[in-house]
C-alpha cells in the first residue's frame, strides 16, 4: 500500500505537480493517463527519489518513505522502477542485470570478484522464471529483443522484492503485440505477488484493458480517478484537451469493459 500526499514539484518556476494525492492498494494495478508534460514521469520520479519533490509525503504501508538524504545507508528500496527504455546494462548478462535489484547492501569486495550470495542468485533466477526468461540468464542483455529486454526490466524490479513497482511508459517503444505481452506479465506479477503497481501509459486502449483503476493527470493535477468503466469519451477529452480522435469511442465501451484478468493471460498465451 502506497499513499502519496500533497506531492508538488516545479522545475524552473514552472509547476509540474500541483499537490497530487494518490493511494494504491497492495496488488492493485493503477494506470496513470495523461498527455506529454502532464507530470506523469515527474510523479514517478518524485516517488522513487530520482527527483526531489518540493513538498508532500510518501507513505509505504503507513511508514513515511524517504528515498534519499544525507548519510543514508545503502539499502534495498521498497520502491522499484521499470523504465521506458528498460535501462539494462547492455553488455552485462541478463542474470547480472536482474541481480542489480538485489545488489544494494551486498559486499563491494565480493561483487568485484563477481561473487554473489546464493540466496540472491536464486531470487534473481526465480524472478527471471516469472517472466519466462530463465533460459536467457547467461545471454548478454543486448542479444535480447525489445520485449524480452523489458521483461528483464520487470524481473529486475521484482528482484528488489518491492512493495511498489513504478512503471514509466514501459511499452512506449514496443510494438502492439509485444506491448500486450509485457503488460500481461506486469499485471500477473502485480496480482500474484500482491505488489502495488503504478503504470504510466499513453495508450488509452491498454489503460482500459489492463488498468483496474485509472487516474487522469492533466496539468499536474489529478482530474479523474475511477475504474475503466467510468472512463467515458468525455473524460478522455478532458484528460487530453483538444483530442480529435473519432475512434476513441470504439475503445471505451459505453457500459461494460472486458474482464481485466482474462486479457493478459490471453496475451501471454498468444505470444
Amino acid at each position: 500500500m502506497i499513499t502519496i500526499q500533497g506531492l508538488s514539484k516545479s522545475y524552473a518556476g514552472r509547476s509540474v505537480l500541483k499537490g497530487v494525492d494518490l493511494s494504491v492498494r497492495a496488488g492493485e494495478f493503477l494506470v496513470v493517463l495523461g498527455p506529454s508534460g502532464a507530470g506523469k514521469s515527474t510523479l514517478l520520479r518524485c516517488v522513487n527519489g530520482l527527483a526531489q519533490p518540493d513538498s508532500g509525503r510518501i507513505l509505504i504501508d503507513g511508514v513515511e518513505y524517504r528515498s534519499s538524504g544525507a548519510g543514508r545507508r545503502e539499502q534495498r528500496r521498497p520502491v522499484a522502477m521499470i523504465f521506458q527504455h528498460h535501462n539494462l546494462v547492455r553488455r552485462l548478462t541478463v542474470l547480472k542485470n536482474v541481480l542489480v535489484g538485489r545488489m544494494a547492501g551486498l559486499s563491494s569486495l565480493l561483487a568485484l570478484l563477481q561473487l554473489f550470495p546464493s540466496r540472491d542468485v536464486q531470487t534473481a533466477l526465480a524472478c527471471l522464471e516469472r517472466v519466462e526468461l530463465s533460459h536467457k540468464a547467461m545471454a548478454r542483455a543486448d542479444q535480447l529483443s525489445g520485449g524480452e529486454q523489458q521483461r528483464v526490466g520487470i524481473a529486475r524490479a521484482l528482484a528488489q522484492d518491492p512493495a511498489v513497482i513504478l512503471a514509466d511508459e514501459p511499452v512506449a517503444s514496443l510494438d502492439p503485440k509485444t506491448s500486450r505481452v509485457v503488460l500481461g506479465y506486469l499485471k500477473r506479477i502485480c496480482k500474484e505477488t500482491n505488489i502495488a503497481v503504478i503504470c504510466n501509459l499513453h495508450q488509452v486502449d491498454y489503460a482500459v484493458e489492463f488498468g483496474e483503476r485509472i487516474v487522469g493527470l492533466q496539468g499536474g493535477a489529478v482530474i479523474f480517478d475511477g475504474v475503466p468503466a467510468e472512463l467515458t469519451s468525455d473524460v478522455v477529452h478532458r484528460i487530453y484537451p483538444g483530442l480529435e480522435d473519432p475512434g476513441i469511442g470504439r475503445i471505451l465501451a459505453p457500459s461494460a469493459t472486458p474482464e481485466p484478468l482474462a486479457a493478459p493471460h490471453a496475451a501471454i498465451a498468444a505470444a
Partner: protein
C-alpha cells in the same frame, strides 16, 4: 549570383559585419600566418641549399649495416618492455583518477576541475623531459623510461577514460539508483561494462604511442634502442644509424598493425 550557368550557393554571412567581417577576419588570419612563418624562419632557399647535404647524409647511410642488427635485438626488446610497463602503470595511475574527472560521476565541480587540471599537467610535460627528471632521480636505465611513459600516459589515459564515462547512457545508472545500489557497485556494473570497449581501444592506442616514444627514450639514458641510435650518430657510424632507424620503423609498424587489429576486434 550566377556565372555562366553556375549558381554560387553560399549562405550569406551572419553577424553585424557581413561580407566585410569575413574579409577582415581573413586578412587578420593571413597576417598572423605570415608573422608565424617569419618567426619560424621558413625559407625555401635554405631548404634548397640543404638538399646536397641531405643527399650526402643519406648516401653515407646506405647500405645499412645489417650485421649491426644483431646488437640491436636486446635494446629493441628492452624498448618494447619499457612501453608495455609504461602503459600498464599509466592505466593503474589513471583508473582511480578518471572517475573524478568525469563530469557525470564527479562528486563536485571543483573536484572535476581540479582532477582535469592534474591530468593536463601530467599530459603537458613531454616524455623526454619526464625521462630526464626520472634519470636524475633514480639513475640511468629503462625503469626511468617506464616512469616517464607512465606519468605522461596516465594524463592522456585519464582524460580519455573520463570522456568515455561522460558519453555513457545514464539510464542504467538511474536503474541502479532506483534499486538503492551504492556508488562503487554502480561504477563496477553500470559504468565499466559500458566504457570497456572505448577504454581498451584507448589503452592499445596508448601502447602504440608508447612503443614509438620508448624508441627515443634511450637518447636521454632511459633505456632502449634510442641510445644505440644516438651513439652511432655521434660516432659517425651512419650505416649503423640506418640500421637503427629500420629496426625502429619495423617495431612501430608492427605494433600499429597489431594494435589496430585488436582495436578493430574490440569494436
Amino acid at each position: 549570383m550566377s556565372i555562366a550557368g553556375f549558381e554560387l550557393v553560399v549562405r550569406p554571412p551572419r553577424g553585424r559585419f557581413g561580407w566585410w567581417g569575413i574579409g577582415g577576419a581573413t586578412l587578420i588570419a593571413a597576417a598572423a600566418l605570415w608573422w608565424t612563418a617569419v618567426g619560424a624562419q621558413i625559407n625555401g632557399q635554405n631548404l634548397l641549399n640543404g638538399v646536397p647535404y641531405m643527399a650526402d647524409f643519406l648516401s653515407r647511410m646506405v647500405p645499412p649495416n645489417w650485421a649491426f642488427a644483431e646488437k640491436l635485438v636486446k635494446p629493441a626488446v628492452e624498448s618494447l618492455q619499457v612501453a608495455v610497463w609504461g602503459t600498464i602503470f599509466g592505466v593503474i595511475l589513471a583508473l582511480p583518477v578518471c572517475v573524478f574527472a568525469a563530469r557525470n560521476l564527479s562528486p563536485h565541480p571543483a573536484v572535476y576541475h581540479f582532477t582535469r587540471q592534474v591530468l593536463n599537467v601530467m599530459r603537458g610535460i613531454n616524455e623526454i623531459i619526464l625521462a630526464l627528471i626520472f634519470v636524475a632521480a633514480i639513475g640511468l636505465g629503462p625503469f626511468a623510461g617506464v616512469l616517464a611513459l607512465a606519468i605522461h600516459g596516465a594524463g592522456m589515459l585519464g582524460k580519455f577514460f573520463a570522456e568515455a564515462i561522460e558519453d555513457i547512457d545514464d539510464g542504467p545508472l538511474e536503474a541502479f539508483q532506483s534499486a538503492g545500489v551504492g556508488r562503487f557497485k554502480t561504477i563496477l556494473f553500470g559504468v565499466l561494462p559500458q566504457v570497456m570497449p572505448a577504454w581498451l581501444g584507448t589503452i592499445f592506442y596508448r601502447l602504440e604511442t608508447n612503443v614509438r616514444q620508448s624508441t627515443i627514450l634511450g637518447m636521454v639514458g632511459a633505456g632502449g634502442i634510442g641510445f644505440e641510435l644516438v651513439s652511432s650518430m655521434k660516432l659517425f657510424q651512419y650505416q649503423d644509424t640506418a640500421m637503427c632507424i629500420l629496426v625502429i620503423l619495423a617495431m612501430v609498424l608492427i605494433t600499429d598493425l597489431v594494435s589496430s587489429r585488436v582495436r578493430a576486434y574490440i569494436r
